[in-house]
């Protein structure tokens, strides 16, 4: 192996890549990069194998089009199969989704560890995961959104929540360093303020002698019986999607899978892992946004893309509320209507603010390998109880907008009026509970390779090890067996660091 090398796309006319290391880590996002750097710091030879290309901030796109083309998994076209087609948002690039998210840092709530112990037999993780989260916070620099970068949408959200007396209303803590508030989180921070893993843990792994292989989607885990011994696949060109030469990266000690809640289960399916729980218990934070209309310009794209949040409703009814600024490109399709009617609505862009909810949904879905192609098949839909929570979130956001001084709201519900005034708020009490009426997304994903004590209902144990296998560990959101109700990046990093430390300790 070439120590400290980066191997990018190799065409079919180039020689195959064949390397051997102690540990192969599949994926370079929150889980993969954290696992890799932990192993490298422990003196191990590590290879990170990432499906996407390695893009530095200078390479980041500026437009939403470029973001979908260069950073998103499959152009962001992955949607759930179920009653409604809701997008499953994930990145495909070195750094994974940490490149395109808002870097929101929330510690794993205590009740989650209790739930894991009570319902899944997972004990002994709390102190170690929280210690790892402490370390990650120190290393990546976590700060509250600076006052100069808050922007009017975030300020209004705080004002509205405070006016309603919500028990929690705060400016977010994020993995950023002196955020400039350019509103470009979703396309990657070209100012290097967001601490995505392609800027820290991946280069550190490389500096410590690790190999980084990019544009290299893993097709299969190599095994000898039930012992994982490496990975293989073919390079894929970042723009033409042409297949390149084959790569094989062998693992002397273990393969760590951190390819995401949708791709990790599929990779295990394709590699012959036969677990009755594989691909099951997929969960998410489905959510949508409500626009508020204000007399004065809000200019929501000025300031942090996401800067305010509330967890006041995390336990009851099960919601997280946040601001989210989206550019004109995305508002254009998000607004109902077409023709002159649509253009008249869009003319008010400067005066609108979008705030959204993420439902701590108890509904579960499945992830399966497709018969053709590589796109995971995600079946997921919200049950009636979760849809009630979904609607409750819409009502909370609407009240918050009016408390902040909005003159109207745009609920974005098919079949309902485009604009509602304060006196129309009661209409939301009877808003439809059909998922098809909403434009929503699944932003935070969990499960598919869930951890637990019982191999009949879980895929990995409390150290991320796949039941019945040797040298095969999963270290990403797919192991999380419950819905956190908060942004999952910190939990993923804490778990990945803990599992990697366990590997080093034998």
């Amino acid at each position: 192996m070439i120590r400290g090398a980066h191997v990018a796309f190799r065409g079919k006319d180039e020689r195959d890549l064949d390397a051997e290391v102690d540990y192969v880590v599949v994926g370079s996002g929150a889980g993969g990069a954290t696992a890799a750097v932990t192993l490298a710091r422990g003196g191990a030879e590590v290879a990170i194998v990432e499906a996407g290309a390695w893009r530095d901030p200078e390479d980041y796109p500026l437009s939403s089009y470029g973001g979908m083309r260069d950073l998103m998994d499959d152009w962001g076209a992955q949607v759930t199969r179920g009653r409604a087609l809701w997008p499953v948002v994930q990145a495909r690039t070195v750094g994974g989704t940490t490149v395109i998210n808002s870097a929101i840092c929330v510690r794993t709530p205590d009740d989650i560890f209790e739930q894991w112990e009570r319902d899944h037999g997972i004990s002994g993780l709390r102190s170690r995961v929280l210690a790892a989260e402490d370390r990650v916070e120190r290393e990546l620099t976590v700060e509250e959104v600076p006052a100069s970068s808050r922007g009017r949408s975030n300020l209004l959200a705080k004002q509205g929540a405070d006016a309603l007396g919500w028990t929690d209303s705060h400016y977010m803590r994020r993995y950023t360093e002196e955020c400039l508030g350019r509103g470009q989180c979703l396309q990657g921070c070209r100012d290097r303020r967001k601490q995505s893993t392609n800027l820290n843990y991946v280069p550190e792994t490389q500096d410590r002698g690790g190999l980084v292989v990019s544009s290299a989607p893993v097709e299969r885990i190599l095994s000898e019986g039930t012992r994982a011994v490496g990975v293989t696949g073919r390079f894929v060109h970042p723009t033409t999607r042409a297949q390149g030469t084959r790569f094989v990266v062998r693992a002397r000690k273990a393969v760590v899978v951190a390819a995401s809640a949708t791709h990790s289960p599929v990779l295990l399916f394709r590699s012959g892992v036969a677990s009755p729980a594989l691909g099951n218990y997929f969960r998410a934070h489905p959510g949508t946004g409500i626009f508020g209309c204000y007399d004065e310009p809000v200019d929501m794209n000025v300031g942090a893309t996401q800067g305010w949040a509330s967890v006041a409703f995390r336990k009851n009814p099960g919601l997280k509320l946040e601001t989210l600024a989206i550019p004109p490109e995305l508002v254009a399709s998000r607004f109902a209507g077409g023709g002159r009617e649509l253009m008249e609505r869009l003319a008010d862009y400067r005066h609108i603010a979008m705030w959204c909810h993420a439902v701590r949904a108890e509904s579960t879905g499945t992830v399966r390998a497709p018969f053709f192609g590589s796109r995971p098949v995600v079946r997921y839909e919200l049950d009636g109880r979760d849809m009630l929570t979904f609607r409750e979130g819409m009502k909370l956001l609407a009240r918050q907008h009016f408390a902040a001084g909005a003159n109207a709201i745009l609920p974005g519900i098919a079949g309902m009026p485009f604009k509602l005034g304060k006196d129309d708020l009661g209409l939301l009490d009877d808003a439809p509970l059909d998922p098809q009426r909403y434009i929503a997304i699944l932003s935070h994903l969990f499960g598919g390779c869930v951890m637990g004590k019982d191999p009949r209902t879980s895929v990995v144990d409390a150290r991320g090890r796949v039941h019945g296998w040797t040298g095969l560990v999963v270290a990403d959101a797919s192991v999380i067996p419950t819905n956190l109700g908060v942004n999952p990046q910190h939990t993923i990093m804490g778990l990945a660091a803990t599992f990697a430390a366990d590997l080093l300790g034998g």
């Binding site: 796109p61 470029g66 083309r69 076209a77 070195v94 490109e329 399709s333 869009l346 098919a414």
Partner: protein, 130 residues
């Protein structure tokens, strides 16, 4: 196919006194790039959405003509009605066309200027090769 998609988008995003329309936003060049670069299924979805858009005026405005042959005010009424169709898959298909169009329209310097946003530099489209 480009023509079909182009004509649907121009009806969905017409020029108004306040804002440039999609036709003012280098739409042709954008669609050529989009067809070349997008995942094939994404492009196929946009084309199917545009076909649906053109074939449905008989249901929305009761005129048995494709949308590109309608007088502007009737086409505008069709755009409004088909976007809010009660049939989910129809609504989603038009949503996909609107999304693709929005990517071109919303990123155009003239549109961004109307919203007091700075023009975007071109996407580099580069990556680390070594």
């Amino acid at each position: 196919m480009i023509w079909l998609v182009h004509s649907a988008i121009v009806i969905l995003y017409p020029r108004t006194a306040a804002l440039p329309g999609a036709a003012d936003c280098d739409l042709e060049a954008f669609l050529l790039r989009f067809r070349r670069e997008a995942a094939p299924l994404v492009w196929l979805g946009v084309v199917l959405g545009a076909v649906l858009f053109h074939l449905t005026p008989v249901f929305t405005v009761r005129v048995p003509l494709p949308a590109f042959m309608l007088p502007p005010d009737v086409a505008d009424r069709h755009a409004s009605r088909i976007s809010g169709s009660r049939i989910y898959l129809v609504r989603q298909s038009i949503f996909l066309v609107k999304l693709a169009a929005g990517l071109a329209w919303g990123a155009h310097p003239d549109v961004r200027a109307r919203f007091a946003l700075p023009a975007l530099a071109p996407d580099p489209g580069t990556w680390r090769q070594h």
